[in-house]
Symmetry: C2
């Protein structure tokens, strides 16, 4: 498979809308995914910022079916399919393949801490062997601040040797450029596609052989982030990057997932978007007002959302 068949560019870990009874809301979910695609942003559904681990496997299967059933392009999807339980990871990954997803983003099993690379290798190898599909493209998900379980360089090396082509890349949400650079320096030439986990590293990543980014803020600022990806070799790239960082900085002052949802609720004129599942808590009225006022002060808008 050539690099051309690979997912690249900007992806959003799509926030998951919930109804008042906290059940997932497939209609709003489909609408949000269509909007993101219209901004040229791909769909890393079931990421950390999707509250994916607050959903059961049945709920994820159902949401994925609803997306594909609504005609959303599965080739633009990189669902998160890495769970604590091997059997859940296998089930979700196989289902994503059946639907034709362009790739899957896999957390390591994250309950046990201090596990060995041997055990993690075995976990990913079992998923790959059991799914048994040459089209599978796995992106390893490194997010130690949350998962507390790391995707190390030796682990990547071993997986790449055992499953070249199938082990397709990584999302690095360490927030540590040195780690992203080590991934790039060691593996990019072998066709291992590295996505920084934040648009703050988009430009730096592209200049060092990265292929895009998968960023939470792409949920609310998709067009501008996609534009930097498309024009990163132009003269105003650094200015664009600075503006992206400014907007992200505002969201980062608040609990991130509730803040995204509050912004979507406000700019989309759809209050029910603010709902989160426990253990998360929605922004207070005051927090939401303060967020919007800060965004307005920087001339931020999401006009297309109301379209």
């Amino acid at each position: 498979m050539s690099a051309k068949d690979r997912i690249a560019g900007v992806l959003s870990p799509v926030v998951t809308p919930f109804k008042a009874d906290l059940s997932p809301d497939p209609e709003r979910f489909v609408r949000q995914c269509r909007w993101l695609l219209s901004q040229d942003v791909g769909l890393a559904v079931f990421g950390t910022n999707s509250e994916a681990n607050s959903l059961s496997t049945d709920e994820k299967v159902e949401l994925l079916d609803r997306l594909v059933g609504a005609g959303v392009d599965a080739g633009r999807m990189m669902p998160g399919t890495g769970c604590c339980a091997l059997t859940d990871s296998v089930r979700l990954t196989a289902h994503a393949m059946k639907l034709g997803c362009g790739g899957v983003l896999m957390l390591p099993p994250f309950y046990y801490k201090g596990v060995s690379d041997d055990g993690l290798f075995k976990n990913f190898a079992e998923v790959i062997e059991r799914v048994g599909d040459r089209r599978l493209r796995i992106y390893l998900y490194h997010i130690p601040p949350v998962s507390q379980v790391a995707i190390t360089l030796p682990l990547i090396e071993r997986l790449l040797k055992a499953y070249p082509g199938i082990v397709a890349g990584a999302k690095d949400s360490s927030g540590d450029w040195n780690n992203t650079k080590a991934y790039l320096d060691n593996f990019a030439k072998q066709g291992f596609d590295v996505f920084p986990g934040s648009e703050t590293f988009l430009l730096q990543g592209m200049r060092h052989g990265g292929v895009g980014c998968i960023s939470v803020t792409a949920n609310v600022n998709p067009g501008a982030i996609a534009r930097l990806f498309a024009t990163w070799q132009t003269a105003d790239a650094d200015a664009q990057q600075e503006r992206l960082n400014e907007i992200r900085g505002i969201f980062a002052k608040y609990p991130m997932i509730p803040a995204l949802k509050a912004a979507i609720a406000h700019y989309g004129g759809d209050a029910s978007w603010a709902t989160v599942r426990p253990p998360l808590v929605a922004l207070t009225r005051e927090q939401a007002a303060s967020l919007v006022s800060e965004l307005k002060a920087r001339d931020f808008d999401m006009p297309a959302l109301r379209g």
Copy 2:
């Protein structure tokens, strides 16, 4: 409900046997549970040391059904039913209640770190409200070294006020006696039953108003731990405690879950018990031999297991 109806004593987070294909082995599971009950040890199935988070919800439901179907007393069971996803926690807890389990042990949702007590309260409250069964007895599971999400004193206070009787106690696996003592000092008189998460605190716990312990080592040394619980007010209690600590100390030199399974495999003459699910890794042949030789040097045996 009087304290007499409550689970007390020594419970084991029962290790889960797997077949060669890594699927759960219900027959060996039933046998192990029966053996533990014969040693007067209750069944905290689906604990950390059960590799419970490496099982899907479907697999847990099936194993619980098999236990009850085999006539194992559900009143002696305190299955772990706390998951990352609210819907999984509700489903498992409701199923445990349907089967008549004496209680459930609930982890907080453990993917997101740094969550608020408000969010954790909402999580437990939603489970309680949705299950909607006055017989429910929830034991909060505090194991910050693994879950990284704590059950704080203010959270317990708030839950006890909102759901007296239903919020029945806690397992404290912090390994920090000061925390166990704070649980006891603050809440034991309100009928909040505290189980230290290790038999090393069994005697100390009983002397301060505890009701037993839930300990990993009860998988391999059940009779001796249950004996200390039954005779903690006798003259040789301290000597018994010392001996328990000595045996635990040997297991603690190895990765704990694989070591338990290696010991059960050895003393039960049943090699397939050694199997673990990734991300865990079984002991090497050398580690297993060394474990057994250390245990033998201290005259440790598990004769009943072969009965």
